[in-house]
Symmetry: C2
Subunit: 206 residues, 2 copies
Amino acid sequence: MKKIITAAEIKEYDRFLRMHFCNCLTGFKSPLLVGTTSESGNENLAIFSNVFHIGADPSTIGMIARPTTIPRDTVANISETKIYTLNHIPLADYEKGHLTSAKYPEEISEFEALNLKAEYIEGFGAPFYADAPLKIGLSLSSITPIKENDTILIIGKVELVEVEEKNLMVTGHLDFSGLRTVASTGLDTYYSTKFIDRLPYAKYRK
Amino acid sequence: MKKIITAAEIKEYDRFLRMHFCNCLTGFKSPLLVGTTSESGNENLAIFSNVFHIGADPSTIGMIARPTTIPRDTVANISETKIYTLNHIPLADYEKGHLTSAKYPEEISEFEALNLKAEYIEGFGAPFYADAPLKIGLSLSSITPIKENDTILIIGKVELVEVEEKNLMVTGHLDFSGLRTVASTGLDTYYSTKFIDRLPYAKYRK
């Protein structure tokens, strides 16, 4: 039985119901751990799941951050230091990854609290998650407020990528079957994935 | 053996290698079919894979479209008619979904060319893909150029959602195991998914 839900009905949903429903609409994504440090050197690691490709030349990545009406360490740190890291989450670590979304006391880093090892790559000042099978170091390009709801679009330029050589294909593709990273929907639901197919560039034929 | 790839190396990559590499960096996503009509009534269906949650109140969704330096039917249609649909792709239809990215002659709609049935929902003027297990009708909220590379951020307000009642959970979550939609990475690689876990809201405990 098909159900149609209108904007007026969504508006009337209880806050948590609406939050889960709306966050589910866009489907699958890769939740990523964003690594930053404050100007005073405190390390921070936080899960973000609305991260997307902007362009290849230069290589740029966008992400949506929640409103800064309450303190948001990640956004403050990126604004201050102009660098951050994106770390794909191994299947085995999805629970720890999820727990980075809790509110920790200021003096406690999520790396320590959750026993997630921080790692630095020479020449880059923001911390990576050591066990991430795909690590991306970015420099801040722009921060743009989204007028619809005070969320923030953060765009970064890819400065470096670390990946196992065997998972980087000669075509430039990354082999996510080999990377074994977790996928998610909404704010709390995690999935493993199975490769089906890689298709050729689509062309019209009469 | 871990490999570090720098921005300078990405810049030197062959165009197609760079395109595949950069499009893979953000990991899993749900490729969605965007349904529109032109002012003259021609239906259009095109695959977009950088679609993301913006907010729940009001329910808003963002997507990135490529530069309009060459004709892009979808963006032109959305600009003209101010409405569009997002349609999740059933696992069984991933090849047809992919083929909507080919360049068809102006007089041929992707719905017809690929035998994907168009469907209208009463009171909403843009076409849905009839077999999509999750359909979203949106009104245009804003179109913003991304200064980094002339792509375009399109933000829409959710006007209606159609889903099988059994796949809408009492908590507001959508059950993607039941929806059986396809996931993708990059521009051409498709995956099925398997539910692992749904986790409670994360709280810090001493």
